[in-house]
Symmetry: C2
Subunit: 131 residues, 2 copies
């Protein structure tokens, strides 16, 4: 029998925060933002809810070089990000790659991800002013 999922204030707040975000968020960012709606919300619940939503196919996990896991709605899921060396923020980008991948025999590709490393406009400016 399929498990039944309950609609709780905690889950709704996590969902709402991710939906409202313009870039993938970390668990602690979700906690901070969701507590505006549900102050007693705990970090464990955030993690449990994020995992649940990922399993349900509603959210996608994004893991980039910085190490921290980020989450975004699948409808808006990107396979390409620009990751700023200076501020570590991740920006979704459109990377149209006409690829020719020499994938050896036996390997099965499920998905491709592209990460661009560099400096974002904000940090470029700051460096120019301070250098």
């Amino acid at each position: 029998m399929a498990k039944t999922f309950r609609r709780t204030r905690q889950r709704e707040s996590v969902r709402a925060v991710i939906e409202a975000a313009t870039r993938p968020l970390r668990a602690d960012e979700v906690l901070f933002l969701a507590r505006e709606q549900v102050p007693e919300l705990g970090l464990a619940t955030v993690y449990r809810t994020l995992k649940l939503l990922v399993d349900e196919g509603e959210l996608a996990e994004v893991k980039l070089r910085s190490g921290a896991t980020r989450y975004e709605p699948v409808q808006r899921e990107h396979d390409s990000f620009f990751l700023c060396d200076a501020c570590s923020r991740a920006f979704p980008i459109e990377a149209r790659l006409t690829n020719e991948l020499a994938l050896p025999d036996g390997f099965t590709m499920r998905r491709r991800e592209v990460t661009l490393l560099g400096t974002c406009p904000t940090c470029s400016e700051n460096q120019a002013h301070s250098g």
Copy 2:
């Protein structure tokens, strides 16, 4: 005055293990392998040595989806990996991408990384046999 670096059995063993590897290794893998040479080697020393070698420009850090950091010699540094969903091992690949990246104004790209997610030959076989 520049710091002097000493040549120790511990450092040499870490170096040797990474040099001998055919794929980027995690710290715990380095520890396990290097202990064949230096049994009393500690994990903290592995981390300290890896960081030292990265700072020296001898090793490169590789961070992929699985979360754990891997290390490989810079001479063999790859910008493209195949990461197995099942066993989490990382395989260097050649990804010749003829790209056309629409990078917005103000962004400066320093480097590009491509990660392929999927199943490696070993795990494909195991799944076939057990499924």
